[in-house]
Symmetry: C2
Subunit: 182 residues, 2 copies
DNA sequence: ACTAACCGGAAGATTGCCGTCCACTTAGGA
DNA sequence: TCCTAAGTGGACGGCAATCTTCCGGTTAGT
């Protein structure tokens, strides 16, 4: 792949994220192309159909999150603290419609998105480990699982609000046995 | 209005709620008509445009919620308990896409929806009163307002999940100074 | 300097929804 | 029972937006 082509590919994915964020998964290809300062033809050459493009975005997206989880794990704080900072990090991202788009992607589409599915599964496992540790130590209420965290993060990701971070902090206060506001 | 016409009007609103819930505000009129077992012509006669139909749904929607708030207020429990049961009631409703649809309705459309806007404003006032009382008594953390509650309820309404009620309970545990899980 | 790879975007095809219109049916009063 | 104003369904012409291809022109990189 020629260097200029590579550059364009990246710009397209980036543009797609921006456009999808404000117009949804069904945003016209031309909008994406324009945002990337590229012709529609170029988009179609690189991504044979809309789905290929979505998959590319999804991969990028999930990797960013997985990286954040890694950082939280490696921060050397305890399990609960790691969870807390991971959750708050997610809250700061304001991913908006991209999260929503991925959330209600037709089941069948996921089947071709190997990368995404794998990374995601791995993340859930690691989250589960953190949760288990935190709960063993009694730092976290027992009726919340890693999947609940994922769900909650996704819900808030879909609804960026000015006070989103604040709401997550409240949730954490409800979850974290060690934290007492006030 | 003839009795059969009245009946149809009601069926249409009901059908619209169901269809909007699963297809969004832009759902084709024909789907709504079919769901109501009625011709498109009938829908158009009763509701000159899509907006009129949305307004009708919105009115019904907001009234249901306002009624629930009234019940909570009248239950004779304290302010915090009333808030708690109102919030949980909302969580049980699973309004889904209808809430989402109303949430990002273009600003200008609201201007014609007198009924909706009025009832909603009244609800906010009553919520504010409850919050103020609860906070004065120290039963509720001070950095959460009635508008935050509305936002949160809306967010959860937009994302019905099996454990939605559970999540709200966690939120409440984060908000309610008197509640200590475990 | 040469060429394989790449690019833009015009244009034709397709899709899906809108909203009207009118021939037919029915509720409900006289 | 009869009569008619009110109500009904859904086919249809029109429109607008998006898809996707295709090709003449450009450029990176050897």
């Amino acid at each position: 792949m020629r260097a200029d082509a590579r550059r364009n590919r990246d710009r397209i994915v980036e543009a797609a994220r921006a456009v999808v964020a404000e117009r949804g998964v069904d945003a016209p290809m031309e909008l994406i192309a324009r945002r990337a300062e590229v012709g529609v033809g170029t988009v179609y050459r690189r991504f044979p159909d809309r789905h290929a493009l979505i998959a590319a975005m999804a991969d990028q997206y999930i990797h960013e999150i997985a990286d954040a989880l890694t950082k939280a794990e490696e921060s050397g704080e305890g399990a609960m603290a790691a969870l807390r900072s991971f959750v708050l990090w997610c809250g700061d991202q304001g991913r908006g419609a991209l999260a929503a788009a991925l959330a209600d992607l037709p089941q069948e589409l996921f089947e071709e998105m190997r990368e995404f599915v794998t990374v995601r599964a791995n993340m859930v496992e690691r989250l589960e480990a953190l949760v288990a540790t935190a709960q063993e130590r009694g730092e976290m209420r027992a009726d919340v699982g890693a999947d609940d965290l994922m769900t909650l993060l996704n819900i808030f990701a879909c609804h960026p609000t000015p006070r989103g971070g604040h709401y997550l902090r409240i949730m954490l206060d409800g979850i974290d046995n060690g934290s007492r506001h006030r």
